[in-house]
Symmetry: C2
């Protein structure tokens, strides 16, 4: 989530803004579940920061969209983009509400944790041991989502959170990866991270 | 989505209902994007059916939850479940709104399709050729989410849609899989489905 500032001065195209909104909302939902699961206020804060960014993106989208329509057909098409953006923002608000539960220090029912851990797709913490094959390699090289079925949402490095790490992010020993995937794929990645399994998928890239 | 009827007579535990809600909402969002991407009214109808089921589940959850609390601490915990269920239902409603766009026959802007196809995770149609290694095997055996990183949301078989196929679902030639995954993993599964690649991941199960 680097170029917050830059964005303010150099708005992108409707398409770029819209794609960013779609990516951010998916990240927000994953992070919101993570915040709840790990009862982690820092992740919850990150969700609320993203919710603000989403509001800004939606505002920019509307401004751009209004300028883009030149005839009734285009106006209808543009309306469809705004409608979908509204749905995306509704999801973003729902993720924000989950994050607020964590920030308010609400006593959470154990069923919530169990539901996140027993869903078809789960969220998990994966600690990287020094002799894992992951160490020293970038997320781009590893392509964990394609190669293991686990999507990396965030990484805890010491006291710092890296949210939505990009392809250049290089894994260090001790990193804690927050990933989303099936039970099987998460267990598999845990074995890679522990150093038990020494290959990452069939390493296609 | 088999036992709709059964559910009415044999309500499950708070935990079972809640896990089902979490699984359904994720399916709904994927299906809603699919409905929009393929401009498919049948998938859109399925989203609205699931939205109704979600309402019913939320109703059952509330009934169960109210009965479950026996002291103030438990009441606070149960409130957290209801709050999270509300967020889940908000997401379900947002997915329903997307589905309604399709059913209303709104002229969709090309940016919408592009955003779904250019996001980090995309939705894709994958046609299974007769000589693919997928043919004759069940989704349970194949574990495509873990082995290829592609999550199968639905399958089109002839004129019929199978939504959220379970582990016993056996793939036939000509099936069209609707899957969610990264570009790389979707391309990989397409090659498996075309019969170009003859192994599925490292076939761990």
């Amino acid at each position: 989530m680097e170029d917050f500032e830059e964005f303010e001065y150099r708005p992108k195209s409707v398409k770029e803004i819209f794609i960013e909104m779609k990516n951010i909302v998916e990240l927000m939902v994953d992070l919101a579940y993570s915040a709840v699961l790990f009862n982690d206020k820092e992740i919850a804060e990150e969700v609320l920061d993203l919710e603000e960014r989403m509001d800004l993106l939606n505002y920019h989208l509307m401004t751009h969209a209004v300028l883009a329509a030149r005839n009734p057909k285009e106006a209808e098409q543009i309306t469809s983009v705004l409608q979908m953006a509204n749905s995306i923002e509704d999801i973003s608000n729902a993720a924000g509400d989950l994050a607020k539960m964590v920030l308010e220090g609400l006593e959470l029912h154990p069923v919530i944790t169990e539901a996140i851990l027993e869903s078809e797709e789960i969220i998990a913490k994966i600690q990287v041991k020094p002799d894992s094959v992951l160490v020293g390699r970038t997320l781009g090289e590893l392509a964990l989502a394609s190669n293991t079925g686990v999507w990396i949402i965030a990484v805890r490095r010491g006291k710092r959170w890296i949210i939505a790490p990009d392809g250049d992010f290089k894994i260090k020993p001790g990193d804690v990866l927050i990933g989303r995937g099936t039970h099987t794929s998460v267990e598999h990645l845990k074995e890679i991270a522990r150093g038990v399994i020494r290959v990452v998928g069939d390493e296609r890239a």
